[in-house]
Amino acid sequence: MSTAVTIRDPGYPTDRENYLTNSSGILSWIFTLDHKRIGMMYLAGVVASFIVGGLLALGIRVHLLRPDGVLFTGPEGNNIYNQVFTLHGAIMVFLFIIPSIPAALGNFLVPIMLGAKDVAFPRLNLSSFYLWCAGAVFFVSALLSSGLDTGWTFYTPYSTTTDTSVILATLGAFILGFSSIFTGLNFIVTINTMRPPGMTWFKMPLFLWATYATSIIQVLATPVLGITLLLLIAERTMHVGIFDPEYNGDPVTYQHFFWFYSHPAVYIMILPAFGVISELISVNSHKHIFGYRFIAYSSIAIALLGFLVWGHHLFTSGMSSLTTIVFSALTFTVSIPSAIKVFNWIATMYKGSISLTTPMCYAISFVFLFTIGGLTGLFLGTLATDLHLHDTYFVVAHFHYVMVGGTLIAFLGGVFHWWPKMVGKMYNDMHGRIAALLVFLGFNLTFLPQFLLGSRGMPRRYATYDPEFAFLHQMSTYGALLLGCGLLYALVVLMISLAKGKRAPANPWGGITLEWTCTSPPPYYNFERPPIVGDPYDFHNVEWDAEGERYVLTEPERKLAPEETPSEQPAHH
């Protein structure tokens, strides 16, 4: 019986199969319709944007090292500071966070996790990448022309009167919106129509549920941003009188229109992160995910509730008190599905056999940081405390805990988790863990003091501040530098793995979702035949093969035919 176990392992791809090498030359990448290559191009793009946005952030923090400012001095200093924080926000939101997990990881993973050969519309997929590039070009040209100083929200009436390049930046955001819509549309159709036999809705990995929920928001919310930005451009060029009070328009209308998109957009940013974390925690605990259906449904619930709460950005803009109360109450309902997820992750880890790999370090950081980010959101959703905290550093700290502590950490975790699959190389796990620790410490050192600053009354977006805030600001700045070092370290670890890393086995972490049944990197056609679909979190048949330093899928011996010839006598005798 000891040899009765058969091992299933796809081995390594040949160069002709490997999606990275099956065709070569720059044109084979530019015109590729392979979702994996498009995903990798997105990955390179979003990381480049993140580096630009991150350097701008470091500029802000270094400037705030002293109460009267360090970097941007002189008569134009404050204007430059305004431009720096605006571009930091706009680049991070539109070019990095929104496409980070859905477009980069999603493109790579959605078809392959689903067991499909490609997304439903490969050409649309490539065109959304090029739309992303076009949007990025617009942002860069805004940066190079006269800059942008409206804040990433483009609030009227300032955005209709400032002489910076609002039109270039809003056109960029408009185009990026279409990139996002097409990606979402593609994923919804792919998940609906491209599932192989046996892949039912409730056999889908939770990452796919999260992507599906995200795609719903992308398709339903982004068009509203599109028309809002278009009207803003029309307002600036022709004065159509919808947003600009000088021409009888109403600036609060702009805020409603803008946040009707941009609040759901917050969930575009965080929902895919939930999906990534569900995968990381279950795989690295080697234990079935706790409450699969609850996690799946809570993603959809967040997507739908997210459409009803935009008004909490406008508590101080002059809405009626009844409206503010309704929006406040609706805001609290979002915390229920979010809490369901956190409790389920913790329950998954409970009594699991946890491997503290680099991705798992990020996943655990995520649970800590997202919980802090989520709970501080309650203070902002409460009307009385929001009046005090509105537009202070408390808000800044809150959304950075969700966006950076949530999405960025999950993105890093996801990249480290699927890196062996993407490039076929293992990175040094110990260095990866050190980088994760640095990121965790640096992040908290940056943003925990900002909660204190905000509750003590430090307003956001100020280039200078009272000397009494100096100590906390300095802590925050040193934290940002530490965070920057940690992120750089993580990048170096990954880059070194490309050159020196060991060849990755098909299944380095013991995952059971379909991408781990492909070779690393996957063949360009993903699957030779429709894969066998089982429970995506049933780890019973996964075993560590110490010799090959890999996990393998084992199949206990199955008796296909009766063992012996049947006895002469019928059984019922």
């Binding site: 490609d118 519309f121 593609n186 009207l231 109403d250």
Partner: protein
């Protein structure tokens, strides 16, 4: 299913592993069956239509809000829209929806000739629509019925010359020339297109390239339809011009005897008068407005009266900081500022909504031309007619949006 079985780990060439005997050329390699491909496309186009509806919803919201805030402006300004032209365009679009639906049917039954005719008819209708729209737009631009930033309508001189625009309204010479001659600027690209297509048709004929000639022939008709639309619009506005001129005059004359039914027209003429504070003439118009304002229903006239009083107060300098006026709330203050720009709010929304709709018509024309080429190439058959179906759905949505725009902008008063 076939592809999967024949996929060998060592394929002969990269990226074209789907082209085996069981995979027809129109079935993309990553789909297993024609049904899967059709269903994917159908779901995709429906989702796209949802995004389109949401895209327009922003403007419908803006319309609803500003209509609620300033009903009198909307009632007065919509008088300037030509219901006849709007109705013609509605009819044209409805007819094009019929031909589009018929085209889908033809593609399903494999009637290639009829399919080409139906797509070309749909395209021609789209062009007629744009032709009529050109007349509508250029007519209004010449009169200065523009968005608030450029609104210059003057009732006493509804059709100013280029020189007047420069001297009285401070436009640059180029802008003024464009505004007074906008019809030529709008027609020019279509004229170029027509000439280009005719030349193309001739070349194709001479070179005996049957396929290109087959494509160019219907396109000549399509381009000509644009000018058909322009002609139609011109004839209709020619007669309308007269009627409009007389009813404005009549509204002035008989203001005293106006009943409630005529209140709309009267408000319009008053709005036109008071849009320019410098021409404010209380003596001649007060009586009419007061009479109209006696009815509680006539909020427009009441607002006018209020505006007039405020302006009179302003003029006489009586309004210097009366305590109770300071915190009267945003609504009252805005109503007090009756400027010509307020009428422009209606036109701002009008141009945004119809303009974005017209862009969608242009986009529709683009994809319909693509369909036309493919139809002439006999790309579609009983099993593969998805693209015609998807474009048809898009075209119906564009039609449907116009069905909402027409009553909202032209009819409701």
């Amino acid at each position: 299913m076939a592809t999967i079985d024949t996929l060998s780990p060592e394929p002969e060439a990269h990226d074209d592993h789907g082209h085996d005997h069981d995979h027809p050329p129109w079935l993309a390699h990553h789909f297993d069956t024609p049904e899967q491909q059709f269903d994917s496309g159908k779901l995709g186009i429906w989702l796209f239509l949802v995004t389109e509806i949401l895209f327009f919803s922003g403007m419908f919201c803006a319309y609803a809000m500003f209509r609620m805030l300033r009903p009198e402006i909307f009632e007065g300004s919509s008088q300037f829209l030509d219901t006849k032209l709007g109705a013609i365009n509605t009819g044209v679009l409805l007819f094009s929806s019929l031909t589009m639906a018929w085209a889908v049917r033809c593609s399903q039954t494999g009637e290639h000739k009829k399919l080409v005719v139906m797509i070309a008819s749909t395209l021609s209708c789209a062009m007629v629509f744009l032709g009529v729209k050109t007349i509508e737009y250029s007519h209004k631009w010449g009169m200065g019925l523009l968005f608030p930033g450029a609104y210059f309508y003057d009732e006493n001189n509804p059709h100013p010359t280029t020189e007047q625009l420069v001297s009285q309204h401070g436009f640059s010479e180029n802008t003024a020339y464009f505004l007074t001659h906008s019809i030529y600027f709008l027609c020019a690209p279509f004229l170029l297109l027509l000439v280009g297509v005719v030349i193309w048709a001739i070349i194709a004929k001479v070179k005996k390239n049957d396929f290109q000639f087959a494509v160019a022939k219907p396109l000549v008709v399509v381009c000509l339809s644009f000018f058909g639309g322009v002609g139609l619009g011109m004839i209709l506005t020619g007669s309308e011009e007269h009627a409009e001129g007389s009813h404005v005059a009549a509204a002035h004359h008989d203001a005293g005897e106006h009943d409630h039914a005529g209140a709309g027209e009267a408000t319009e003429s008053i709005a036109a008068t008071y849009t320019e504070p410098t021409t404010f003439n209380p003596a001649s118009d007060d009586a009419a407005v007061e009479l109209l304002a006696e009815s509680d229903l006539n909020t427009g006239a009441k607002a006018m009266l209020l505006a007039q009083e405020k302006q009179a107060e302003l003029a006489s300098g009586r309004v210097v900081a009366p305590g109770e006026d300071v915190d009267m709330g945003i609504e009252r203050i805005e109503r007090g500022v009756e400027t010509k720009r307020q009428a422009g709010v209606f036109f701002g929304i009008y141009y945004c909504m119809t303009g974005v709709h017209a862009i969608h018509i242009l986009g529709g024309i683009g994809v319909l031309v693509w369909l036309l080429v493919r139809a002439i190439r006999h790309d579609f058959n009983r099993q593969y007619f998805g693209p015609v179906d998807y474009v048809g759905l898009y075209w119906h949505l564009v039609d449907l949006i116009w069905i909402y725009l027409f009553p909202l902008l032209y009819l409701i008063r």
